[in-house]
């Protein structure tokens, strides 16, 4: 199948007062049509940078230092203003974390949604779109200002705007982080239903491993600006091959038995000042040895997934790796 998006060895850094800060250090990701891919990682792992890079929505301080990023054959990083606009308008849809800051507070919801649809849609068409995003009373929502909506409703409006032009690729950056636990499930279900209806690919960026795992086909775990493990959700979660994935799973509350203690990951995530010539996770890894500190691991295919670790076979065999999420 032709890939919808193909990201290879992408390196992106931000210019800061303290020198360049490397956000992506050779990230690889492949998206095929019709799947839901969860990109999981801690803050600073580069997942938002990766998501925004797909639409070239990065701030001016961001520099691309290497790698390629193609969406439907278009080289996004080299595209001129016209084709970039066409790509953003017709191919991509974005849903951001905070719906309140994604909507214009001074404009009625109906007008904003109509603008996202283009072509001067009729009131019925706007209502139909809102209904597709599972808003139960579209007539009222149309007339409302964003502050009159609850967080969950506002996020549904943002989703409606994102799917207005039937994008082939829908990117949701922490779509549920600012919402209640009880609504999170429903929003994820809505996103997946819309994906099924339109045949789009859904990319969800999140740090909530558990929530996202239930609603995804494929999982990409990010650490230190690279995708350290990518594969089918069940494959990766049931038998993690990267020590970081395993550590992340045992740190999350929810899988422990009563009275059992959670195992936090020791140390802190790295902030990279340049290309990492070792394994970025080595300082916090229980399996690390000299080779991990000296040699940059390259992607390998092991047990049905891609992983970046010198000792992935050992991580697979390690006790506790059979832990279920």
């Amino acid at each position: 199948m032709t890939p919808l998006a193909d990201i290879r060895d992408l390196v992106i850094s931000y210019r800061t007062d303290g020198g360049a800060l490397q956000a992506l250090d050779g990230a690889d990701l492949n998206l095929v049509p019709g799947e839901t891919v969860a990109v999981v990682g801690e803050s600073g792992s580069g997942k938002s940078t990766l998501g925004m890079a797909i639409g070239r929505l990065l701030p001016d301080e961001a520099d691309c230092e290497g790698g390629t990023l193609r969406v439907l054959g278009t080289d996004v990083l080299a595209a001129d203003a016209d084709s970039l606009r066409r790509l953003r308008r017709d191919t991509l849809g974005f849903v951001f974390q905070n719906p309140m800051s994604a909507l214009d507070p001074t404009m009625r919801v109906g007008k904003q949604v109509a603008r996202a649809m283009g072509d001067r849609p009729s009131r019925e068409e706007v209502e139909a779109l809102l209904r597709r995003a599972e808003l139960s009373d579209p007539g009222r929502v149309l007339r409302a200002y964003p502050h009159e909506l609850s967080g969950g409703m506002a996020q549904r409006v943002v989703i409606a705007m994102a799917i207005a032009r039937r994008p082939a690729l829908l990117i949701a950056d922490e779509p549920t982080a600012s919402l209640d636990a009880s609504i999170r499930e429903k929003i994820m279900a809505t996103l997946n239903r819309l994906r099924d209806e339109t045949g789009a690919t859904l990319v969800v960026l999140s740090h909530d491993l558990r929530l996202i795992a239930r609603h995804s086909d494929r999982l990409a775990v990010m650490y230190g600006g690279r995708v350290v493990e990518a594969g089918g959700v069940e494959t990766v979660l049931e038998t993690p091959a990267h020590p970081y994935t395993a550590a992340l799973l045992s740190a999350a509350a929810g899988s422990e038995r009563p009275g059992e203690r959670l195992e936090p990951i020791p140390g802190t995530p790295p902030s990279l000042l340049g290309r990492c010539e070792a394994c970025a996770f080595a300082p916090r890894c229980a399996l690390a040895r000299d080779r991990c500190h000296d040699e940059r691991p390259e992607p390998r295919e092991i047990a049905g997934r891609r992983v970046i670790c010198h000792f992935a076979e050992e991580a697979l065999a390690a006790p506790g790796s059979e832990r279920r999420a």
């Binding site: 209640d180 009880s182 499930e185 992340l248 509350a253 929810g254 422990e256 009563p258 959670l262 936090p264």
Partner: protein, 251 residues
Amino acid sequence: MPQTPVIDLEDISVTFRRRLIGGDAVQAVRGVSLSIAPGETLGLVGESGSGKTTLGRVCLGLLRPTGGAMRFEGQDFGRLRQRRGQLSVVLQHPEWALNPRLRCGVSVAEPLKILGTPVAKRREAVARMLDQVGLSPEFADRYPGQLSGGQRQRVAIARALITEPRFILFDEAVSALDVSVQAQVLNLIVDLQAKLGFAALFISHDMAATRYVCHRIAVMLKGEIVESAAAETFYGTPEHPYSRALMEAVA
């Protein structure tokens, strides 16, 4: 013999009036009774708008309940001023809770300053407290902006604990943190409580984190507590349908 509960709420209700629009009343909390013993953590879960935070404000004495009685260590709550240093709070966003222009050490020492503790003693207490929350003493000289989210939350916890309060409210204290940092802070709360024996109310909408740190959990729905049971119950099947709905987000 049973210990005197630190917090004892009896049939508490809180009604807000919307004066602008004809004065219709919103019952945020309806007839809630609960008590928290020393060294015990009570979890309070429920969706937003269920009255969790309102109930937390009542426990801190920041909000006078419209009805019902509240006792603190067996006595009438009295004036807030009398309770200085006895209760404390840790909030969701450490970056908003700490003054960005004050060095962390100054922020942590502030509650003691208000109680009138001499400078030398304050400095000693700050160093000890930072050590207890797992930060080295140099952190006293840093600004909150130079710290990561987890470190900032540790500073906020150090400040909350420095007066050795009898009761601490954790209002969504780990919700803004990353998974791995969340585990560190949850473990810290468990360890500090075992050492210091304070009573705690842990407000959250995250069932997984709540059942991990709490001894008992109360589930709130529309201002009422619909189920209150030992935390172990929430590893199995709780009784109330709403609790089960919350559980689905964990399993």
